[in-house]
């Protein structure tokens, strides 16, 4: 499921994310900087188990709507952005694989770094997305959780 314009590409996918395909898509001839954030599943957490994978669950419509709002906010704050890509993987993500990728291009690196950081911070606070940690013989909802924030409050 995705929403794509010529400059923005917002998607949820149950397939592996390929950060390169996304950062390559963000390259523009008038942009000298592409900053890519990849959030990868890691093997440790607050639970005393070796984490094997993370399972993500969402409402596709609600999540895509919020993800698009975050991109629109970034464009308001950094009007010189070239392309903005925000993809989140759902269902199971094994350790080392990307769960979320943000890629932003801009003429100069200041905007690209700041907007990429803004997008991932805002995604985590505003997008309905729930994470289960999976270990050998068990699974649990992540204990680190917070109330959803409205993008207008960022």
């Amino acid at each position: 499921m995705e929403v794509s314009t010529g400059r923005d590409w917002v998607a949820l996918s149950d397939e592996p994310l390929v950060p390169d395909a996304l950062s390559s898509w963000a390259v523009r001839p008038d942009c000298g900087a592409v900053v890519t954030f990849s959030g990868t599943a890691r093997n440790s957490s607050s639970v005393p188990h070796e984490i094997l994978a993370l399972e993500y669950e969402t409402s596709t419509d609600l999540a895509l709507g919020r993800m698009s709002q975050v991109v629109a906010l970034a464009r308001t704050r950094w009007p010189d952005l070239g392309a903005v890509v925000v993809h989140h993987r759902v269902v199971r993500v094994d350790v080392g694989e990307s769960a979320v990728v943000v890629a932003v291009s801009a003429p100069h690196r200041d905007s690209a770094f700041l907007a990429a950081r803004f997008c991932i911070d805002a995604l985590k606070k505003t997008v309905p997305m729930w994470k289960r940690e999976v270990w050998s013989g068990g699974a649990a909802w992540s204990e680190q959780c917070e109330d959803l924030v409205d993008p207008a409050q960022l």
Partner: protein, 90 residues
């Protein structure tokens, strides 16, 4: 009848992700759901946001058969790592 969408821990506590629940306001629907699914669900519900369609709503929002009421527990973050500084939004 109004569709009730249960997400993440709310889905797990209810044992279902989607249901039809009677009621003319969000509050009536949530009360009916709490009765139907029991105390663990009620506990999750107490910590959750409730949206009608794609917007946050309050208990007295009126809903019709074409609306979707979603129960959204606190979120656990869009990716694997947790931020070491929560207040770092630019």
């Amino acid at each position: 009848m109004t569709q009730l969408i249960l997400l993440g821990p709310a889905r797990e506590a209810a044992g279902t992700g989607r249901d039809e629940v009677p009621g003319e306001t969000v509050g009536e629907i949530l009360d009916a759901a709490a009765e139907r699914y029991g105390t663990e669900f009620a506990r999750v519900l107490a910590r959750s946001q409730v949206w009608v369609n794609s917007e946050p709503a309050s208990r007295d929002s009126r809903v019709g058969p074409q609306d979707e009421v979603s129960v959204l527990p606190p979120v656990s973050g869009g990716c694997a790592e947790e931020p070491s500084v929560r207040s770092s939004i630019a």
